[in-house]
């Protein structure tokens, strides 16, 4: 039995590493994807390309515009003369936000009249639009407040009275765990979860389908090996490779993106094992219904798409409709990503991530047992 198990494992490893593409998929791709996706999916908002439409052309309007682009958030891409031109720039993707200062801006402010600054925002990237709009609003409020103060003090001085500074209520947000809002830190755990999904689900389901297509499955079934040996032999090597990949992603995240490793790694290891149990089980289940490699690939894809979308990887789960949030409890990717984030960023302890570990364990054992039962029925 040990001899037979070792024979299958050795054969799987030989086949995997003989085919350069599979080997690359399993070992090199995780690192490359981590880097490419890590840089591409940049959730931070800074250097937003900005156009200024200064219809007033006065020192006050110039001061407002200069102050706006002085920070990191907005980057001046040019002055245009009309709102239409600004919209055109937005249409062509040249700028993302345009600030229109109306004619009579300085005079109107000087007269103490309500004065409006118009913002044109490209809502295509809603995250960026909201952050840019908030930043522009905050800047405008700040300028308005300063002008009001100056004016009150001037009038008071003219009347020879002393005025108290008006009360001012400000929001001060302090961001915990990721103080610089470095989105890579949030992102790397997501890459980890989704990559393991690809490695385990696709490789196991396609590997078994390949044997069916080639007729070697029949040759295996005519040997006295028990179905359990066949199942273990065809999953253990990929569990091992997936585990190595998880290590690569965590190490790559730490080295390339400075993702901290604040918690205990064994918690990640434990979550990884339970997670791989689920995904390998799904790969096996797919292979019991799929007749060809192509069918396996399609089925694996149909499982992976929603699993990734409903994992909280890109879209926060809290933003989903309630019923969909309930569905995500059955998504192993969600739980793994939560454990990775909590352990890496918040130094979560065993009791902090116990709910996720229980969920992963429950899913893992259920799915793997179902898969083993389905496989045994088929192999008999």
């Amino acid at each position: 039995m040990r001899t037979a198990l070792w024979a299958i494992i050795l054969k799987e490893l030989r086949q995997t590493f003989r085919d350069k593409r599979t080997a690359a998929l399993l070992i090199v791709a995780p690192v490359i994807q981590l880097i490419v996706l890590g840089f591409a999916v940049n959730l931070e908002v800074d250097h937003v390309p900005t156009a200024i439409v200064d219809l007033d052309r006065t020192p006050e309007s110039r001061r407002f515009a200069d102050g706006l682009v002085a920070g990191e958030t907005f980057e001046m891409k040019g002055n245009v003369d009309t709102g239409e031109e600004a919209i055109e720039l937005i249409d062509h993707g040249k700028v993302c936000i345009a600030v229109v200062l109306p004619a009579g801006f300085e005079r109107s402010l000087g007269d103490g009249l309500p004065t409006q600054v118009q913002l044109l925002v490209d809502g295509g990237d809603s995250n960026r639009a909201i952050i840019a709009q908030n930043a522009a609003t905050a800047y405008t409020t700040q300028v308005g407040f300063r002008l009001a103060m100056d004016r009150a003090q001037q009038q008071a001085a003219a009347l020879g009275v002393f005025v108290k500074r008006p009360a001012l209520l400000q929001v001060q947000a302090r961001i915990l765990y990721n103080p610089t809002l470095n989105s890579h830190i949030y992102f790397v755990p997501g890459v980890g979860g989704t990559l393991l999904l690809v490695v385990t689900v696709i490789v196991t389901s396609m590997g078994l389908a390949r044997e069916k297509e080639a007729g070697t499955m029949e040759q295996i079934m005519v040997t006295p090996m028990s179905p359990m040996v066949v199942i273990l032999g065809k999953t253990l090597p990929y569990a091992l490779i997936a585990f190595v990949d998880l290590g690569l992603v965590v190490a790559g995240g730490a080295l390339i993106f400075k993702v901290p490793i604040r918690g205990q790694l064994w918690l990640i290891g434990l979550a990884g094992i339970l997670y791989i149990l689920t995904t390998l089980g799904i790969g096996l289940l797919i292979s019991t219904v799929a007749k060809s490699q192509q069918q396996s690939f399609m089925l694996a894809f149909f499982f992976m798409m929603p699993a990734i979308l409903l994992s909280g990887f890109m879209t926060p789960i809290a933003n989903m409709p309630h019923w969909l949030q309930l569905v995500t409890h059955f998504n192993p990717v969600r739980h793994l990503i939560e454990v990775l984030r909590a352990v890496l960023l918040k130094a979560a302890t065993f009791s902090d991530v116990a709910p996720q570990l229980v969920a992963l364990g429950g899913l893992g054992i259920t799915v793997f047992l179902l898969a083993v039962m389905a496989m045994q029925r088929q192999l008999k």
Binding site: T3, R14, R18, T216, Q219, V222, T223
Partner: protein
């Protein structure tokens, strides 16, 4: 253990796929170290029978024992005693010759030093000692077939099942292959071989003939010919089968007229036993003919007789 001990016993074995009966209440025995040929056209039910006997497919009704083990109750025991080479001689094309052999040895629980010995013996049997590190995909069909045979034999099974072992292989390789099979039988292995090549069936000690899921004939090749092909057969050169048919129309002694290559086979009542008898029968009937030779019926004649009778 007597020599005519039955190593395979099949009783009323049937297999249905839905409403379709692929194998229909088949009965036969196979003796130790004989070559048993299982003959039939495509779709006759040969592979289905072999897959039941190998423990790959459960029978719908009936039973069978292979190497003394019941195929339904002890399929693992059956699998330990047999070797099986499927219709597609399935090997791992991306592995080397040696890696394939190592895998199959391991799968039968042969490890360590025993495995090295078994693999070397298999390489020698397949005459592949110099190609042990060649990727299987790059081997020609005939060589792959030898490798598949050596893989199926790696655990020294007492019974070897070969499903269409010579399909898609050159005539030269086919001859070599049958030489190896006869060698195995001499060494004491029992062989169960399916084929749809009637000429290959002549190499078998005994034959079962399958037509549409039913076993319609069973016996040694000479027995089958005697039982199923009545009368005497002659081959006539330089004649036209249509002219011959017209000339002999109404003669009750004529059983069959069949074109066969460039000659015509004529089968007549056994009373006409020599070429001279035929010559005198044909003389004066206005049909041209050349040399006449007494011939033995072939299995093809048996097959035509049985299938013709069935349809």
């Amino acid at each position: 253990m007597s020599l005519d001990e039955h190593v395979i016993e099949v009783r009323d074995l049937s297999r249905k796929f839905g409403a379709f009966t692929a194998v229909d209440a088949v009965n036969f025995d196979v003796r130790r170290s004989e070559i048993f040929g299982y003959l039939g056209a495509n779709g006759a039910g040969k592979s289905t029978t072999i897959r039941m006997l190998c423990g790959l497919l459960a029978p719908t009704t009936g039973h069978a024992t292979v190497a003394g083990k019941d195929i339904a109750r002890d399929p693992v025991g059956v699998k330990r005693s047999i070797g099986y080479m499927s219709q597609r001689f399935s090997l791992y094309l991306d592995l080397t010759v040696q890696e394939n052999l190592q895998f199959f040895a391991g799968a039968y629980g042969i490890g360590g030093k025993k495995q090295r010995v078994a693999v070397d013996a298999a390489l020698e049997r397949a005459q592949l000692q110099d190609s042990r590190n060649v990727i299987t995909k790059s081997l020609p069909g005939g060589v792959r077939q030898r490798l598949a045979l050596a893989s199926a034999l790696i655990h020294k099974p007492v019974i070897l099942f070969l499903d269409e072992p010579t399909a898609g292989v050159s005539p030269d390789s086919r001859r070599d292959f049958w030489r190896m099979i006869r060698g195995l039988a001499r060494e004491g292995t029992t062989l169960f071989v399916t084929t749809h090549h009637l000429d290959e069936a002549e190499y078998c000690d005994r034959i079962g003939l399958m037509v549409d899921g039913k076993l319609v004939a069973l016996g040694t090749p000479p027995e089958l010919k005697r039982e199923h092909v009545a009368g005497a057969m002659f081959a006539l050169a330089d004649t036209d089968h249509r002219a011959l048919r017209a000339a002999l129309a109404g003669d009750a002694r004529v059983l069959q007229i069949q074109p066969f290559g460039r000659r015509v086979h004529l089968r007549v009542d056994a009373a006409l036993g020599t070429p001279v008898d035929i010559q005198s029968m044909l003389t004066g009937r206005g049909v041209a003919f050349g040399e006449i030779q007494r011939i033995e019926p072939t299995l093809e004649d048996v097959f035509l007789e049985l299938v013709g009778g069935a349809s």
